[in-house]
Symmetry: C2
Subunit: 307 residues, 2 copies
């Protein structure tokens, strides 16, 4: 089933304690699209400048990603982010941020995108997220992401958005900020009470929590010792999750849980190299194999007490 | 099967953002024993002063906990710890620590304890842990805990201990300290290479990781919004784990995984109130019921890709 994502397309420069890369392919919509493309056709909407290498677009297209909604601004420069990960590979500092063409981004979707059944509003201004949402009238499922910046600067607009979406995917620290509660179980419930039918709290190396109408659960991350670059892990998680839902064309609670597992596993590959480098080496069979390991990891047989 | 624990017996004073309690029953050996007593008979070794309320001993005995190895020092004062939890309920400050009789503790075990098959060396000086170990000649399984203080002050003795035990249970921050590695998957493997056949890294609200010869896995914590006092969660985890192993009298990898689940669930009750208050309200059936929930939480059915 058709899956549309609107978000950032970026050229990232990333430093880790071991290595650095300059001007590599990044951005929420890019990580999301590539991850989702293991599962379903994707429509990508975003904006770049004319410094954007055409080979990036070609590579995305080769994955079945529709780039009709990727606006190219003549004379403009692509959004650039430069960041540095600390030794723990979880915390990071933004060293430089150049919004460039993203500052003037007006998400006007191509006609074909407006019939999307599955819509992901990647991290961005809630005002633009709602503007995107207004254009899509045939959605089965709308999921959004947000971040600390918008929680602080556009709290009212974010509250409006939350009433209009089916699901929210959010980091643990942002869930705490939004709810002013340090207990993630309570925080997740509180966010759900703000509107979304379900909430997914991403905990990075500690996995993800799901909050639905009748259930709360935690799924651990897939344990990996090879964490080269965590950039894009959250967006890959969302991409794997939404991609699987679009593939199945179902959003019941069992399918949602399987989707979270697919998100978890897709993200576990993303962090194993810079940019999309690791994802570009794998196919769906690799994800499915890792899923077998993961299922084994979470299976146990415990005897109850006697009497 | 017989299970022996040697560790601290304390009177704790605990402050949380919401409440405080003074001079409540605490200590690693106490939390461990009570948690393990849901599964198997326990032999507790430790030391108290004559300020120790006799009713505490009677209560432990009523749970089938053998207190023959609980030394009472006439004229001595019981080990006291005063701590304060920060808003996130994970980080804590020690406000006051009075070792009292624990400073002179010489773990001489009663004859009956020396035939224990399962032995847990709770957090303490590796020198004393080895002295305890020397007395037990019929063990099937020896598991130890340690902490940052001993990693820093007795690193060589700790290394000797690690070569003599079957399993180590350790906090995430302490595993990082011991290995100087911030990646927990690598850290766990490194600790295992120091001697123990298996290593369990406790991650508090994020669950636990297991490292064995052929397997590494993560189990999430049971999600609870009622975190009243986390004191003793780690020792309850170890108690539930070792108690289940002693009950089954098996230490194969499937039983170890089930034991980690029991540890996880026992600890999830401990944090729901101060001291042993919550554990004292429940029985084995409550743990088994929560296990059914937990199993459901970790079960999923995901379709593989076509072709």
């Amino acid at each position: 089933m058709s899956l549309c994502v609107v978000g950032s397309v970026a050229l990232d420069s990333v430093e880790t304690p071991l290595e650095k890369r300059d001007n590599v392919l990044g951005g929420s919509a890019v990580f999301f699209s590539y991850a989702a493309s293991f599962y379903a056709p994707v429509q990508l909407a975003g904006v770049v400048g004319d410094d954007w290498p055409a080979e990036n677009t070609a590579m995305l297209q080769s994955r079945g990603i529709d780039t009709a909604g990727l606006q190219v601004v003549r004379g403009g420069k692509t959004f650039r982010w430069r960041g540095k990960y600390l030794r723990n590979m979880n915390d990071r500092e933004t060293l430089d941020l150049q919004l460039n063409v993203l500052a003037g981004f007006d998400p006007v979707l191509p006609e074909s995108y407006r019939r999307a059944k599955f819509l992901f509003l990647a991290n961005g201004s809630p005002v633009l997220q709602m503007k995107t949402l207004d254009q899509c009238r045939e959605t089965t499922l709308v999921v959004a992401d947000t971040m600390d910046f918008y929680i602080r600067t556009e709290p009212n607009e974010l509250r409006q958005l939350l009433k209009r979406i089916d699901g929210l995917v959010i980091n643990d620290s942002e869930a705490k900020l939004l709810t002013e509660d340090d207990n993630l179980v309570r925080a997740g419930k509180t966010v759900r009470a703000m509107g979304p039918k379900f909430v997914v709290i991403k905990k990075g190396e500690h996995g993800a929590m799901f909050f639905g109408e009748d259930e709360i659960y935690t799924l651990p991350a897939y344990p990996t010792e090879k964490v080269v670059d965590p950039t894009g892990a959250g967006d890959s998680f969302a991409g794997g999750m939404m991609g699987y839902l679009a593939e199945r064309n179902q959003v019941d609670s069992a399918t949602l849980k399987a989707a979270l597992v697919h998100g978890t596993l897709t993200a576990s590959f993303t962090v194993e190299d810079f940019s999309l480098d690791r994802l570009r080496q794998i196919d769906r069979k690799d994800i499915d194999r890792r899923m077998d390991d993961y299922r084994g990891m979470l299976s146990f047989h415990a005897m109850p007490g006697r009497g």
